[in-house]
């Protein structure tokens, strides 16, 4: 192994060109410049952060000018206690035993799996984590934390229509959510 000879490092003596004019190296000036750099750096970071925030901000959902109504058909088509899937709208039209209508979202409120209707057991059972919902969309078996989302239903002249564009969150089933034929 070769041993390197130690040579003293010469630091070049720099004479400031404006020596004598003011005190360019004064602590005030240094700390001011330091703070200026810091401020500029923070401003840059803020700008970049703002750009990132705007870029990744959720965009407002563009809705069709006219609501997306799906005409389900005459009230009589749906016997009380029946559940009818509407694949074009991702919901089930449920007619409660008392004759009222609910449009229940097909999506499990737990993690978003798609729910099949079990005719025999009269419940929606989630294949992912075993949550179950009754015909009103109410939770029968957790882990689902809240009742199934609803789509607005309107009944005019005995014809059932569903606004398939606006699912509405709810905590539990309440009677006011049911649309009843006059």
């Amino acid at each position: 192994m070769m041993k390197r000879k130690k040579t003293p490092i010469k630091t070049p003596q720099v004479t400031p060109s404006h020596a004598g004019k003011s005190a360019p190296d004064s602590p005030d000036r240094r700390s001011f410049l330091g703070r200026l750099w810091l401020a500029l750096g923070l401003a840059t970071a803020a700008e970049l952060g703002w750009i990132g925030f705007c870029f990744f901000r959720p965009r407002p959902k563009v809705r069709a000018a006219a609501q997306k109504w799906i005409v389900a058909g005459s009230v009589d088509l749906f016997p009380p206690g029946s559940v009818t899937p509407f694949p074009q709208g991702k919901f089930y039209l449920a007619r409660l035993p008392d004759g009222g209508f609910l449009a229940l979202s097909k999506t499990c409120t737990h993690l978003g799996c798609s729910l099949p209707w079990d005719e025999k057991k009269q419940e929606f059972v989630c294949p992912c984590h075993g949550s179950a919902f009754d015909i009103r969309g109410e939770v029968k078996q957790p882990p689902a934390p809240r009742a199934l989302d609803l789509f607005p239903v309107s009944i005019e002249n005995n014809v059932v229509r569903i606004d398939a564009d606006r699912p509405q969150r709810r905590g539990t089933f309440e009677d006011g959510q049911v649309a009843r034929p006059l």
């Binding site: 990744f56 959720p58 959902k61 694949p87 991702k90 097909k106 999506t107 737990h110 993690l111 978003g112 799996c113 798609s114 729910l115 099949p116 059972v125 989630c126 294949p127 992912c128 984590h129 075993g130 939770v139 078996q141 957790p142 882990p143 934390p145």
Partner: protein
């Protein structure tokens, strides 16, 4: 130049590219070769002889690197065959399997390497942890390693969606569904990941970009940093018994050939085994994704199934946010906790530490399946969630029970083994990791239709 020039043009060109001697004949040549070759230069010219013991490192770090290289190579090939939009994705994967020469082989190598990388990275973490390789100058490298593990999981997860089959579509649906339960930022995070309310073209585009650009770039930044820090720390920790003094200075051997040959052997054996496996076993591909129908049961990718099992027993806020965050925070802080000693290189800290490790693993082995079974048979967490607000019923209450059990474990450990700080940390890490592994196993093997417990066939 006063040296006589070579006449052979080919030789001169070769020398200009590789200045080191091609076949080193003596030690000086070999050291020069290490210093002057870009790839070998991640090693010092000589390494401590002890560091080479195979049963110390098991070659796991090197295996991770080999898998990364394989993944990058096969990944680039797959990118040329794949079309990242929902209309064509599934068909392009099918075409790759049915019509492309060696298409299934390349796809299998990619898929199995990706899964194996997670296993290898996890084992590497265990090796480093159980040889106390996170003290002193290696503290931050532990954190970089954790970041790399996160990158490996993210790469795996984003790649999982790309075939656009039933398996991937619904697995990604439920895992991105978990995001919505993160307090405050949840819905925004979910929307960001999915690029909309449900999985569609935007989500596929997001996942493809992450999988083929963003995560690989992160890897390329983090990997050299990881290696650099290993080198700056003087290589791996040196294995020794707890009552054994390391000779000072340690006996050193040449990197070339002693270390390089070992690395080369591990790499070749690994590649050969992978190739054989990829020829025999095909990576799964379900039927094309159908957003209207979830298969039963729908499971997350296996490395997230521990969380899926937690979800069956805990409120989602706890299962996907509070508990995992607490776990991650604990792991990041491991090198920065206060310790009684620096047993770098001693397996399991001490003989007492080994006993404690066995005790902790055994505790988890009994307690976790027992708790899962108890909850399943009694339906306790489900019933509690209907009796009171779910956040308390199957959130706060089971967490408090868990804390109580941990306290019991602590008392038992204190009485039986009187551990020091190093052994305490080791005990809780073992308990945590064994528990999580068991949850994963339960979910992978013992969860059937409707996620009910069932016997695997």
């Amino acid at each position: 130049m006063t040296e006589p020039t070579e006449f052979n043009l080919a030789r001169r060109i070769w020398r200009s590219i590789f200045p080191a001697p091609l076949i080193p004949v003596d030690d000086r040549d070999r050291r020069r070769a290490v210093l002057e070759t870009l790839l070998l230069h991640i090693h010092p010219p000589t390494v401590p002889a002890r560091a080479l013991r195979f049963t110390h490192t098991w070659g796991l770090g090197g295996m991770g690197l080999v898998l990364f290289v394989l993944l990058a190579g096969t990944g680039a090939m797959l990118m040329l065959a794949y079309r990242p939009n929902p209309a064509e994705a599934y068909a392009s994967v099918q075409a790759l399997i049915q019509e492309t020469g060696f298409g299934p082989f390349v796809r299998n190598i990619h898929a199995w390497s990706a899964n194996l990388l997670l296993v290898v990275a996890f084992l590497h973490l265990l090796r480093v942890f159980f040889t106390s390789g996170f003290h002193g100058p290696r503290q931050f490298n532990w954190v970089i390693g954790l970041l790399l593990l996160c990158c490996a999981m993210a790469a795996n997860f984003t790649g999982y969606l790309l075939p656009w089959d039933q398996l991937s579509y619904w697995a990604i649906t439920i895992v991105t569904g978990m995001l919505a339960y993160v307090p405050l930022a949840g819905p925004w995070l979910q929307n960001l990941a999915r690029g909309g309310e449900e999985l569609g073209a935007a989500a596929l585009n997001n996942f493809y970009t992450l999988h083929t650009t963003i995560i690989p770039v992160l890897f390329l930044l983090l990997l050299p940093w990881h290696f650099f820090r290993v080198r700056k720390a003087g290589g791996v920790v040196l294995p020794h018994r707890h009552d054994e003094e390391l000779p000072e200075p340690p006996e050193r051997v040449n990197t070339l050939p002693d270390l390089v040959l070992r690395e080369f052997t591990v790499a070749l054996v690994l590649i050969a085994a992978l190739a054989a496996f990829a020829l025999l076993v095909d990576a799964p591909l379900g039927s094309q994704a159908n957003p209207g129908m979830s298969p039963n049961p729908t499971k997350a990718p296996w490395y997230f199934q521990g969380f899926q099992e937690l979800l069956l027993h805990f409120h989602p806020v706890f299962a996907v946010c509070v508990l995992p965050l607490a776990g991650v925070l604990f792991f990041v802080l491991i090198p920065y906790l206060r310790y009684d000693s620096d047993p770098s290189g001693v397996p399991f800290v001490s003989p007492n530490g080994l006993k404690i490790t066995r005790f902790a693993a055994l505790t988890a082995l009994v307690a976790v399946p027992a708790l899962v079974l108890l909850d399943e048979l009694s339906g306790a967490s489900a019933r509690l969630a209907t009796w009171m607000p779910p956040l308390i019923g199957n959130g706060l209450i089971p967490c408090l029970m868990l804390a109580g059990l941990l306290f019991g474990f602590r008392q038992a450990l204190k009485r039986r083994y009187a551990p020091n700080r190093n052994e305490w940390v080791q005990a809780f890490v073992v308990l945590l990791l064994t528990g999580f592994l068991l949850l994963t196993l339960i979910s992978v093997l013992f969860r059937g239709p409707g996620m009910a417990l069932s016997w695997p066939l």
